[in-house]
């Protein structure tokens, strides 16, 4: 696989949310507004790329028997770094995302990429893989959170775009709406990707 294919893989063919459907907990919970979606997406990109690079660099040093605990420590360290940085420099976003920042540590996509890619490939390829998967995550978060904010609040990034007459669809920003809209989004992506293949 060339570098661009590794990058593209995470966005299209193996998109963590829309295709692999992992790490759904935070996805469903925080996509109530576009800003939250972007913030979470960027935080995941940082943790995923950082842990992929370090794990790949240490892959010859870490014995197979203890690789999972070592992955967990490295991922937890990166998550804590992001948590501290957001707490210090993007406080409003930190408050909006709340417990879901520390919960990045249990997002399956990060451990999955460490195990499936970073532990077997070079540092540069792993960095691109982390970036690609992270951007794929961000794209899906942006799609879902935009739909939810427009339907549920009539606004985008806090700016009202729908006329006052529009009655916000409360369900869109509540948990059931998250499930339904995510299902429709995944359905639409599947429909389009199959049509392309055929």
């Amino acid at each position: 696989m060339n570098k661009f294919e590794i990058f593209k893989n995470g966005i299209t063919k193996e998109n963590p949310i829309l295709v692999q459907q992992v790490g759904m907990c935070a996805t469903l919970a925080i996509t109530t507004s576009l800003l939250n979606g972007i913030g979470m997406g960027v935080a995941v990109i940082a943790v995923l790329t950082g842990s992929n690079i370090v794990i790949s660099a240490l892959r010859k040093f870490i014995p197979d028997e203890v690789r999972i605990p070592a992955f967990v420590i490295i991922i937890a360290a990166f998550t804590t770094i992001i948590d501290l940085l957001m707490h210090a420099y993007t406080f409003a976003l930190y408050q909006a995302l709340g417990v879901f920042i520390p919960l990045i540590v249990v997002n399956c996509i990060i451990l999955a990429r460490a195990e499936a890619f970073a532990f077997k490939n070079g540092v540069f390829d792993s960095a691109i893989d982390g970036l690609g998967m992270g951007v794929g995550y961000l794209v899906a978060m942006v799609l879902l959170s935009s739909i939810r904010e427009i339907l549920g609040n009539g606004s985008i990034l806090g700016l009202r775009i729908l006329p006052e007459a529009y009655e916000p669809m409360m369900m869109a920003v509540q948990p059931p709406g998250a499930f339904i809209l995510l299902g429709l989004l995944i359905g639409a992506v599947n429909y389009l990707s199959r049509k392309k293949k055929a």
Binding site: P63, V66, I73, I81, L84, H87, A88, F91
Partner: protein, 188 residues
């Protein structure tokens, strides 16, 4: 077998120790900023604006010994704070104090802001037990604004008490005068 345990344990130990070291350093570097963020978030913007317009945070006064000596002399005094704006510039002092005369439901607790040139910048009630709708009228700007701009170096004797709410008004005034007393004795 024994060697492999040592090796596995050693690798995990190293990974853990380096991670902990990085996190300890970062925690140290960000803890002050985080503490400030949390302190700012715990303050209600309307109180900040009422007591010291333009302020974003009341931080602890740097001279803790002075606070102790005020406490020793003045039993109603709670705390002395420094009001700062978003660029960390000091805007004035904020005195937190109880009233010396009880109101209808007990003592009232106030924030009194004082500018560097010794004028009262604003007042906000922190806690009170006054009757809702009557004593609570002393919380409203219609009443509190009469103290804004007054000299914080001289006791206030003449003021407009709210008719029918004399007891609460007097309690409020006693807290303001206690802040003035603290200001003239310790901060002037």
């Amino acid at each position: 077998m024994k060697n492999s345990f040592v090796k596995l344990g050693g690798v995990l130990f190293l990974v853990g120790a380096i991670s902990a070291g990085v996190l300890a350093w970062l925690n140290d570097a960000t803890s002050d900023i985080i503490a400030k963020n949390e302190a700012m978030a715990s303050m209600k913007p309307e109180i900040l604006e009422a007591v010291m317009p333009g302020s974003v945070l009341f931080s602890d006064y740097e001279d803790a010994a002075l606070i102790d000596s005020i406490k020793a002399e003045n039993s109603k005094f709670v705390n002395l704070l420094t009001a700062v704006d978003s660029s960390d510039k000091e805007l004035g002092k904020v005195i937190r104090t109880w009233s010396t005369v009880p109101g209808y439901g007990g003592d009232m607790e106030l924030f009194v802001g004082v500018s560097p040139d010794g004028k009262i910048t604003g007042i906000s009630v922190v806690s009170h037990s006054e009757t809702s709708g009557l004593g609570t009228r002393t919380l409203e700007p219609a009443f509190t604004s009469q103290f804004v701009g007054k000299d914080a170096g001289a006791e206030i004797t003449a003021f407009d008490a709210i008719s029918g709410v004399t007891k609460s008004s007097n309690s409020f005034l006693s807290a303001v005068n206690n802040a003035i007393d603290i200001y003239s004795k310790f901060l002037k």
